[in-house]
Amino acid sequence: MPFQFANVLIFSATAVLFVFGSLVAGRFLRPDAPNREKSMIYECGEKPIGQAWFNFNPRFYLIALVFVIFEVEIAFMFPVAAVYKSFIERGEGLLAFFEIALFVGILAVGLAYVWAMGDLEWVKGLKQDVLAQLREKQAAPPAEKKAA
């Protein structure tokens, strides 16, 4: 029985060897002739402007989050659309339709919420409570500033 584990051992050893083996082999087999163009960072064929190490605007993150949700929605709807005919043949067409409509409906409420809360706006205004806080700060300058 323990010999069955040998399969696993050989399998994992092969996997590790393949990765490092091919990298090492490549190092010796390939021609090595770097130039400026070649060692430039590849950014869809454009010349990169500046460094990639800077703070990204958090606005990207909000939009990306909403985008991911709706992409997942499509990923779930395609399979249903693909086999929808067989649902109809079994007389469950209406049921499947209702289920997927429910799914889309739940996401639609989410979209409406995000929209109404202004998270889809690219240029963001300051919220009213933030403005009020700023006004308070201006009215009474912080004490530690005086100390400094």
């Binding site: 029985m1 323990p2 049921l95 739940i106 409420v109 989410g110 409406a112 919420y113 109404a116 409570d129």
Partner: protein, 511 residues
């Protein structure tokens, strides 16, 4: 039972799903209304009432639904009522606390309902995958609610710590689940072909033994898998090796949510633990009792965790000066007491857990409510902020004394019933180790009196700098009285609790 027919027993969860969406829509509709807080609270209470109605109307039964993913049984309904009570208290408390801004109240309620949905699923999950998914649902919403006050540094720190510990715990749990799947070839815990059935079946146990080159290897893998699975559950109930998040999270989260977190998800974690261990490693006898199948020493594992949780929680609580942190360590200790009932591995043990959980909701939410009332006025949550509370807010102070004595388990108060039943269940089980566990429990109760009494001393014997009396909102006084009364008088008549717990667990074998 197939999916369409199962929906009949899924009404409470369906209502909760609609409630989450409805709260979001209502939040948008009343956004600019000056009576927003009142309208949203009424909305939340309406959906809670509808969920309660759906829970109440769900037909009684004991069978798997959704093809074995969930189980519909009295235990699930029992926990549903417990969760509803905790949620109701939170909904009543939140609007008057200053910690949740009125602009984001609708969001808070929507998230609370999502959390409630996850807890409902935890209480009925009978499949490893669904157990994992429901725990994740509860965790994800908890992370967001912990960091709800976005501007507060402590809240952000707490939420981040919670996410990191939670990620590790659920990773370990998934690993355990994968080992279990490797051993048994199924994710079903109960029912035909499930883990419990396979362990009970002698031929499949022989197969297990052979497949892994002898009994010890399979046995070891099983123990490891169960311990890993316990990491996820222990994380939810804040038992000791997995408790590190709880003091920071309890301190950083808005206090009304801390109150909910300390009773709701903890109870849900116990629901998962009870269902998993009793479905997988115990077999119900015709008489209603349980006998162990397989030779996994799970009561011993739970017993050790229980003893460590109690001791560490209580000893660390002694040196705390922040009351929310103190209550966090006290809740770790309480997870220990509750686990003791599970370590008894008997019907009486589980029933004592159920009874203790009811009482725990009453006393712990009450204690946190006094903290909310005090920090509303003094702006702090340290023991020194409680000085002179006996003269400043007499009703709140008296209520807190009742809750604290109840948490200690001193006889005239309700906590005593719970502790008595748990200790009795462990001692009844017999054997040196069980009696030792009970002794550790009793010693720990004595230790806990020390730090609870420190708070009481601050309230009555120490003088505050600011001695003006302050007003506790009428709603809070009402809730405090409503919680303090059962805590003081339950001792005279607690048969209904016992009857209810007996109906929820250990009734006739499943049909």
């Amino acid at each position: 039972m197939n999916n369409i027919h199962s929906l009949r027993f899924f009404w409470p969860e369906s209502v909760l799903t609609v409630a989450v969406l409805a709260m979001l829509v209502q939040d948008l509709l009343v956004r600019r209304s000056p009576r927003r807080v009142g309208l949203l609270t009424i909305g939340a209470l309406f959906w809670l009432a509808l969920t309660a109605l759906a829970t109440w109307r769900t037909p009684w039964g004991n069978f798997p639904i959704f093809g074995g993913l969930l189980v519909h049984d009295p235990l699930r309904i029992f926990f549903a009522w417990l969760f509803l009570a905790a949620a109701l208290l939170t909904v009543v408390i939140v609007p008057r606390s200053k910690e949740i801004s009125s602009a984001r109240l609708g969001e808070f309620f929507a998230l609370l309902f999502a959390l409630l949905l996850g807890m409902y699923l935890m209480a009925s999950a009978a499949d490893l995958l669904l157990i994992y998914l429901s725990i994740e649902t509860v965790s994800l919403v908890s992370y967001v609610l912990t960091g709800f006050q976005r501007g507060r540094r402590r809240a952000n720190e707490a939420a981040l710590k919670y996410v990191i510990y939670g990620g590790v715990a659920s990773g370990i749990m998934l690993y355990g689940i994968s080992i279990l799947y490797g051993l048994f070839g199924t994710t079903r815990v109960a029912g035909e072909g499930g883990i419990g059935a396979q362990l009970a079946d002698v031929t499949s146990r022989l197969f297990l033994a052979h497949a892994f080159g002898g009994q010890p290897a399979a046995q070891l893998a099983l123990v490891v898998a169960v311990v890993f699975l316990l990491a996820g559950v222990g994380y939810k109930i804040a038992a000791v090796p997995f408790h590190m998040w709880s003091p920071d999270v309890y301190e950083g989260a808005p206090t009304p949510f801390t109150a909910f977190l300390s009773v709701g998800p903890k109870a849900a974690g116990f629901a998962v633990a009870i269902r998993f261990f009793f479905a997988a490693f115990e077999r119900q006898l015709p008489g209603g009792g349980y006998a162990q199948v397989g030779d996994l020493p799970w009561p011993a594992i739970i017993g050790i965790i229980s003893a460590i949780s109690m001791t560490l929680g209580n000893l660390t609580a002694i040196v705390q000066s922040n009351v929310k942190r103190l209550l966090a360590y006290s809740s770790i200790a309480h997870a220990g007491y509750l686990l003791m009932g599970l370590a008894a591995a008997s019907t009486a043990g589980v029933q004592s857990i159920l009874i203790y959980l009811i009482i725990y909701v009453l006393m712990n939410v009450g204690a946190f409510l006094v903290v909310i009332a005090v920090s509303r006025e003094t702006g702090g949550e340290d023991i020194k902020d409680f000085r002179g509370l006996g003269t400043r807010a007499p009703i709140a102070a008296l209520a807190l004394v009742i809750f604290l004595f109840s948490l200690t388990g001193i006889p005239p108060f309700a906590g005593f019933i719970g502790k008595y039943l748990i200790f009795a269940a462990v001692v009844q089980r017999g054997g040196f180790w069980n009696v030792l566990l009970a002794v550790i429990g009793v010693l720990n109760s004595a230790i806990s009196l020390f730090y609870y009494a420190r708070l009481i001393k601050a309230m009555y014997l120490e003088e505050a700098i600011d001695q003006r009396p302050f007003r506790v909102p009428a709603v809070y006084t009402g809730v405090l009285v409503a919680l303090a009364v059962p805590n003081s008088f339950l001792i005279f008549y607690w048969t209904p609790l016992v009857r209810w717990a007996a109906a929820a667990f250990g009734g006739s074998p499943s049909s």
